[in-house]
């Protein structure tokens, strides 16, 4: 079944002090036997955007346990490993997402995985102790695979490439 739907909404960042990213969700056009309901799509996008806030907080405070709500599997292990490494080096990092351009591209027939692409603009700032040693506006095309957990969608694959 083919489904066309346009979603365009803004989300307010829940983390105090965080900038509110602009969010655009492109119309999706999926082929496959399982229709993607609007509510499902909105939940997945909402949970994905909240995962960015968790990512930001976890790398800022060097607390990998903050990832547990939103990431799972390989993605969670990889991010936690990176946090452990930067902690050992006396680093912490901020990833402030500023803009998202999201497209849902795949919803599996069994409903157990959903893939989206997101061209993200974010600022990465790296601190050695209290001193900023790098700040860079970055743009990346993220490939995300989400799987449903008990109460929300979790990111199982979170992989960036040059847009």
């Amino acid at each position: 079944m083919r489904l066309k739907l346009t979603l365009l909404f803004m989300l307010t960042a829940a983390v105090a002090g965080a900038q509110t990213p602009t969010v655009q969700v492109a119309p999706y056009h999926l082929e496959g036997s399982r229709p993607l309901q609007q509510q499902t799509a909105e939940s997945a996008v909402r949970d994905y955007l909240q995962a960015w806030q968790s990512l930001h907080a976890a790398f800022l405070h060097n607390q990998p346990d903050l990832l547990g709500r939103d990431f799972t599997g390989t993605a969670q292990k990889q991010l936690a490993h990176a946090i452990a490494a930067q902690t050992a080096l006396g680093l912490h990092t901020t990833y402030n997402d500023q803009a998202h351009d999201i497209q849902i591209v795949f919803y599996s027939p069994d409903g157990l995985s959903l893939q989206m692409l997101d061209t993200v603009t974010y600022t990465q700032q790296v601190f050695l102790g209290d001193q900023s040693i790098a700040q860079q506006l970055m743009k990346a095309r993220y490939v995300i695979v989400l799987t449903p957990a008990e109460r929300r969608w979790q990111l199982r694959v979170f992989e960036a490439q040059r847009p």
Partner: protein, 286 residues
């Protein structure tokens, strides 16, 4: 001359975002797990940090020499900053780590693991392709799906992944038994076993014969619409109606048939059903 001009542009690209006077020639893109050589200028000791959400590395370096990140050290695909930090130098450069093109693992999800026979597009298979470091391989890769089940020719379809994923739906065949559902790509094979079970009864037919002052009701062997025996334990319901009085008996199939004795009531109507399938009706006139 043209090559030299292109090389010059490439060098400028390397230098973008770097510190004035101090330069790392960081490649714009490297393959996951590959050794990386980063020529540097200047002199003195410094440190390089490679920082991204997917991985963080650190190495002490000597400026003026080529910095080498050993094979296997930087393996997580993603966008990174290479940060040069020393007493008098500082700069940073963005670059990418891309997945290795060599497929190592297929994550193959086949659902459901058990389904009735004769279901069009009843079983689905979804694959995600990963390299040796667990990076999703984003370049298109052909994947062949095969579904081989009893009672029908093997189904085969070849699809190409998009952003690391491909998905297919297959029909279950007409005979019960185990089916092999195989995904094959780049020399890597992953197999799942799907159990095909009989469907619902296709029809029900019972006979009745006297047994003393009772009636022995017995079904013919119960089969699905493909001729497979419906599993023992499936409930068959016999109903005897006499005037306003109705007696219902649930009987599990044993060796493919269901049988029961009910009181012989002249003029009684007796019917049989299983699930949504209704069988024949008998009027007992003896």
């Amino acid at each position: 001359m043209r090559i030299g001009w292109i090389a010059g542009i490439a060098s400028l690209a390397f230098w973008a975002a770097g510190a004035a006077g101090q330069t790392l020639q960081v490649p714009k893109s490297v393959v996951a797990g590959a050794a990386i050589s980063i020529p540097s200028t200047g002199s003195g000791a410094a440190e390089i940090y490679i920082v991204g959400p997917a991985q963080v590395l650190h190495q002490k370096v000597q400026l003026g020499e080529t910095i080498t990140i050993p094979q296997g050290a930087l393996y997580a695909a993603g966008r990174y900053l290479a940060i040069l930090s020393g007493q008098s130098v500082r700069g940073h450069w963005a670059f990418d780590v891309t997945p290795s093109p060599d497929l190592e693992k297929i994550s193959f999800l086949a659902r459901p693991s058990r389904l009735p026979v004769g279901q069009a597009n009843g079983v689905s298979g979804t694959v995600y392709l990963f390299d040796a470091y667990g990076n999703l391989i984003l370049n298109p890769v052909p994947v062949t799906f095969q579904y081989a089940a009893p009672g029908g020719p093997a189904q085969e379809r070849t699809l190409t992944t998009r952003d690391g994923v491909a998905s297919v739906e297959m029909n279950s065949s007409s005979r019960q038994g185990n089916a092999n559902f195989v995904a094959h790509a780049g020399g890597v094979t992953s197999t799942r076993v799907v159990e095909q079970v009989p469907g619902d009864p296709c029809s029900l037919k019972m006979t009745a014969q006297p047994a003393g002052n009772q009636i022995l009701l017995k079904t013919d062997p119960v089969r699905d619409c493909s001729g497979n025996a419906v599993p023992d334990g499936t409930i068959v319901t016999f109903t005897e109606t006499q005037g306003d009085r109705q007696t219902t008996v649930d009987v599990p199939l044993k060796q493919g048939i269901a049988q029961v004795t009910v009181p012989a009531e002249p003029g009684a109507r007796i019917s049989v059903a299983s699930g949504v399938v209704l069988g024949n009706e008998i009027r007992w006139n003896r």
